[in-house]
């Protein structure tokens, strides 16, 4: 897997590079701000060697505001095949909504804390690179809390709510089963129950399922 990292803290950039290299991935480039990121990707694209995934920080120079989110949105529009994982010290559902606008294919938004769990973090990067979704549990909690469908959500069992959250994070049924230490079949049952209660039609493909759930929560 080929990765481009955009992160203004040299320390973290090197840390991430080491971590990903250690897991056998190739870090093609490391940049320090949003403009450089877009430039690098454009150049790589011109050479015909677009990376699989971009890992970008939110707050970068020169404005130190939401550089990363804006660059990510722009990249997603320009290169639909490119996976974009946004990392940040804080997560905001507003940014999640902007990143997910239109499609949840190959997009991720995680707290920086998540790098502490190395395996899960690398899994998330791979998932995004392969066109999946990786949303931070905090974002999902915010989306659930903000949703206007509170009465419907209240009708879910605690376990179903848990599964719904994990679904929204972008996990596959087998990943959910691993996480909750239950069988795949049990997860499938929960999932179909949830879809029934929310009035959604079962869709195949994990990322389309994520989108359905998120759209439901956001409407």
């Amino acid at each position: 897997m080929r990765v481009v990292i955009a992160e203004d803290s040299v320390l973290l950039r090197e840390g991430l590079t080491r971590l990903l290299t250690d897991r056998g991935h190739e870090v093609v480039a490391g940049v320090g701000d949003g403009e450089a990121l877009i430039k690098t990707i454009t150049e790589l694209d011109a050479q015909g060697s677009l990376p699989d995934v971009v890992v970008a920080d939110v707050r970068m120079p020169p404005t130190h505001t939401d550089e990363g989110v804006r660059a990510a949105v722009q990249l997603r529009k320009a290169h639909p095949g490119l996976g974009v994982l946004v990392l940040s010290q804080y997560v905001e559902e507003r940014y999640a909504t902007e990143l997910l606008a239109g499609s949840s294919r190959g997009v991720g938004y995680l707290l920086k804390d998540r790098v502490a769990e190395v395996r899960e973090f690398v899994d998330a990067v791979v998932r995004v690179a392969q066109g999946g979704t990786a949303l931070d549990p905090e974002v999902v909690a915010q989306l659930l809390g903000r949703s206007r469908k509170q009465d419907v959500l209240a009708g879910l069992t605690p376990r179903e709510r848990e599964v719904l959250g994990l679904m929204a994070e972008g996990r596959t049924n087998s990943a959910i089963a691993r996480q909750l230490v239950v069988s795949d079949g049990a997860v499938e049952k929960h999932v179909s129950n949830i879809f029934l209660k929310l009035g959604l039609s079962q869709s195949d493909g994990d990322h389309r399922r994520v989108l359905a759930v998120l759209t439901y929560l956001n409407s």
Partner: protein, 406 residues
Amino acid sequence: MTERQPSSHRATRAAGAAPYDEEEPLPPARFAYDRHTWKEILHLLLNLPVSLFGFTYVVTLLSVGAGLTVTVVGFPLLALGLMGARQLGKLERRRARRLLGVRVDEPSPLRLRGSRNGFFPQLWLLLKDPVGWRTVLYEFIRLPWGILTFTVTLASLFVLWPVLPFLARGMANLDRAMVRGLLSPSDDLERRIAELESDRGVVVDTAAADLRRIERDLHDGAQARLVNLAMGLGLAKEKLLEDPEYAAAMVEEAHGEVKLALQELRDLARGIHPAVLTDRGLDAALSSVASRCTVPVKVTVDLDERPAAAIEGIAYFTVSELLQNVSKHSMARSASVDVWRANDRLLLQVWDDGRGGARLDGGTGMQGLAERLGAVDGLFVIDSPEGGPTTVTAELPWRDRVPERG
């Protein structure tokens, strides 16, 4: 009530001058005729023609205007006359500025194009203009005085010339008093309100900016370091049993990292508000700042009690920024900090024997300090000739400490 209430804009302007008076102090009167004396004499001689004109003007104005008030035309006439009187006052202020060295702020112009439009409100505004009326009063009492000064000065020029400098100084002082008393602005309160409103704005804005800065520092400093640390530990945890060598290196690194993170947090916390200041007050806190300065600093804090927490904080940050400047720019070999109280003011003085030349607009944060102090009715005065030494004096209003809630 003898409280001084210097305005903030004056405070920032006062760099290099004596602390409390923006006018240059006059040299003492001497037997020899110097530039000041000649100016004073000129002023006293001019008094006659000027006051003759002024007197005629206001007497005509008053008698015609007042006389015609029975008919309606009197009021607009009077209003016009008062506008004219304002102009006379302006000329007189200029003359006093040139010849007597008196600096009186210009009164605020009448806001005729304000919200209250219409002929009669404007007329009323003009008629009750206190500046105009005080100028009328000024011109009215000036004629006898003008005659007196003219005669005495002219006569003394021929007869009493050795003592004329003293006489002139005495009479000119009375002139100064009259200008200050009658031609100064009359909207002190309005100005004070405007100043306080802007002060409050400055305080609110700097407080908000402080918070944003702290958040930024946390984000870029400790938080980033901890993320890296967490990553390292995550790796170490996985490899601990399979690759102990690698894990050991990771743990070693994480250990170094956590110490750095702690250091950063400590510095940040100190920059926010040092704990020792809360616990022990200025003396201990300033000694601690001084010990981190590259130049040996002698700290003397002479306070019987502690001021209000906010004032203490401002005093601390002022001194600590000044000492930073000393470290960075002054090339000094020694410095001293003095803190004491005079009545209802807290005074800070930072002295160094460096190369001097510090200025408010020198881009060393002095401007910001002066603004921050000005916003709480403080004063900031720099005395720093080229070649040094530099003395920076800051003054803050003293407020007593109230026990903190909670």
